[in-house]
């Protein structure tokens, strides 16, 4: 019995192992082979030789390891190389996207671009800027933030501090559902009731309402997480001193978690700033400066990108403006993201974990 088991096993602990540098060597070889074949066959697409190199890499890892180390080790190596390939595949588009946006965006991005509108510039000629679009975006996002932050935080407080029973369950469920609403559907909703049924015109405020719907669940979720991190001992300590519950929440719970809540709000702002679809349906777009978000069409930064791209007729000037606006938008969103995470790390509540 034990004899049969024994026979299957290598007699020694010593396993033939590939040297540590072998994955790098295989990777270099695969890339060279991919490039070589591409050059020979006259393929100029980077995607093609990249994919070829990846396939060679995985295949070679398996073949070589199977020969030297055995099947199990070979499988392990294939898994490792696949995981590496997956990671690289994901990084490449990110790098390309940032790189292209910066490279093509800096062409026309200057102070003039940031401080002028498209008022007297047609789509195909150079010049003009994004001042009106920045203004519109700031106003629309600002209004959405002002509406959704108090409602969102209060809802989260309800769920964490008061919520028991059916109502809380329903709210929790629908917050999850709301997180998944496509932005275009939020836009259609405001369209149907504000513009079609109430017969109000296109305006920045209409767009802000749709953005509110998108922003609310994000704020509720993140605030909820932060409030849950506040240790119960703090609440009990305050209640035990005879402090009423609402004072406990406003004076103890909220200040403790304010860093995390701020982070959540900033991430939510970053998310809706880039929303194009609802703005497209509700704000309509304009090439002029309109400072009043409650009256008449406005512009917005993401919509500006889309319109420059779509109305360009393939012209270089409009593409340049689209890239410059995209760079501005990405910079804004990334800075918000970085700042939010900075605050999160700096103000993180010191719990056990």
């Amino acid at each position: 019995m034990s004899q049969t088991v024994n026979d299957r096993r290598p007699s020694s602990l010593q396993g033939a192992t590939l040297p540590k540098w072998s994955p790098y060597a295989i990777a270099a070889g695969s890339i060279a082979l991919g490039l070589g074949i591409s050059a020979a066959a006259g393929l100029d697409s980077k995607i093609q030789w990249g994919l070829m190199a990846a396939v060679f890499f995985v295949a070679a890892s398996y073949g070589i390891a199977a020969k030297v180390e055995g099947k199990r080790q070979a499988k392990d190596r294939v898994a490792t190389s696949l995981v590496w390939v997956a990671f690289l595949l994901a990084v490449i588009p990110l790098v390309s996207l940032i790189w292209e946006t910066v490279k093509r965006g800096v062409k026309v991005l200057d102070v003039y671009f940031l401080t002028h509108s498209m008022g007297l510039v047609t789509d195909t000629e150079p010049g003009g800027g994004i001042y009106h679009a920045i203004l519109g975006t700031l106003e629309q996002v600002g209004i959405a933030t002002v509406i959704s932050v108090p409602i969102g935080i209060l809802t989260a407080i309800y769920l964490v501090e008061y919520g028991r029973g059916r109502l809380a369950q329903a709210v929790t469920f629908f917050v999850d559902v709301m997180t998944g609403i496509p932005s275009i559907v939020a836009g259609l909703f405001v369209l149907s009731f504000w513009i079609i049924i109430l017969d109000m015109g296109y305006s920045g405020f209409a767009g802000a309402m749709a953005l509110t719907i998108l922003m609310l669940p994000v704020i509720v979720r993140s605030t909820e997480e932060m409030l849950k991190l506040v240790p119960n001992e703090l609440r009990e300590a305050s209640l035990a001193l005879g402090v009423p519950k609402w004072r406990t929440i406003t004076k103890v719970v909220l200040p403790t978690s304010i860093g995390g809540i701020t982070t959540g709000v900033m991430l939510a702002i970053a998310r809706i700033t880039g929303e194009t679809a609802p703005v497209l349906l509700l704000v309509w777009g304009s090439t002029f400066i309109n400072t009043d978000p409650f009256d008449g069409p406005q512009a917005s930064l993401p919509m500006y990108i889309y319109q420059q791209y779509a109305n360009s007729g393939g012209s270089g000037a409009a593409y340049d403006r689209a890239w410059a606006a995209a760079l501005t938008l990405i910079a804004f969103v990334m800075i918000l993201n970085l700042a939010a995470r900075g605050i999160a790390r700096w103000k993180a509540p010191k719990t056990g974990r």
Partner: protein
């Protein structure tokens, strides 16, 4: 089957912190060796260096030699994966794979090492479960999840899983600390039977347990918190518990500290 372990000059580190320092000892085949000592003295760390599990912990690093018969586990070209097949391990908390049935749990290690015929696999599983004194309790529910068993049964299932691959050495890291007294007794009886076939090393906090099950006992201690743990002495269990040669051992055993 069972193999002898010879440790010489072994130190283990967590990043830059040295957890155990310069340990040398011999562990006899077909016997039970118990490690005792206060918490944090590095006995579990030392145990994990014996099947190269220590280096799985981030920052874990080992210096020194561990000879399994005539092969150094830390020698050049040694594959840690094959080391762990030779030196099995049972953990503090029973950890059967939750998504696998009782049968699959026992067969898990075998399936890694090659293909077996169904009947062959069934034989080995039965033999291992019998070896772990669990067969009669689970033979009617081999296809039920392993996590449905009681704590003591789960631990014996883990022992069955470990012995199914016929290791040379079996390491046990406080195998009874999460169990009730009756399950503990069952495991202790089992250890007594298993030592006929394996070299067994057991870490325990329970000195009666060490006295009951082991042939030899090693006492570990550390001079202060933050200092590395050291081997104070290793001797026949009877001698350690009646007439140890080091005062600290006697203090610890008689409950004067630790």
């Amino acid at each position: 089957m069972a193999k002898r372990i010879d440790v010489s000059g072994l130190s283990a580190y967590y990043s830059s912190f040295r957890a155990i320092e310069d340990i040398s000892m011999a562990i006899e085949p077909r016997s039970v060796t118990a490690f005792i000592g206060p918490s944090g003295c590095g006995k579990s760390t030392f145990l994990r260096t014996l099947n190269r599990m220590h280096e799985v912990t981030p920052g874990g690093r080992v210096e020194g030699k561990v000879m399994l018969d005539d092969e150094n586990l830390y020698g050049a070209g040694i594959d840690p994966v094959s080391v762990r097949r030779e030196v099995g391990m049972v953990f503090q908390r029973p950890n059967p794979f939750p998504t696998m049935s009782v049968f699959d749990n026992v067969a898990a290690g075998l399936r890694l090492n090659g293909s077996y015929k169904k009947s062959e696999l069934g034989d080995i599983v039965e033999k291992s479960l019998k070896g772990a004194n669990l067969w009669n309790e689970v033979k009617d529910r081999l296809n039920k999840p392993g996590s449905g068993l009681s704590g003591g049964q789960q631990q014996r299932l883990c022992i069955a899983r470990a012995i199914a691959v016929e290791p040379k050495v079996l390491l046990m890291d406080e195998p009874c600390s999460a169990l009730d007294p009756i399950s503990t007794l069952a495991i202790e009886d089992l250890i007594g039977e298993l030592k006929e076939r394996f070299t067994i090393v057991i870490v325990t906090h329970n000195m009666q347990q060490a006295a009951r099950v082991s042939d030899r006992t090693a006492f570990f201690n550390l001079s202060a918190v933050g200092q590395p743990g050291k081997l104070i002495e290793i001797d026949d269990t009877e001698r350690i518990f009646s007439n140890p040669s080091v005062q600290a051992t006697e203090d610890y055993i008689s409950g004067r500290f630790g």
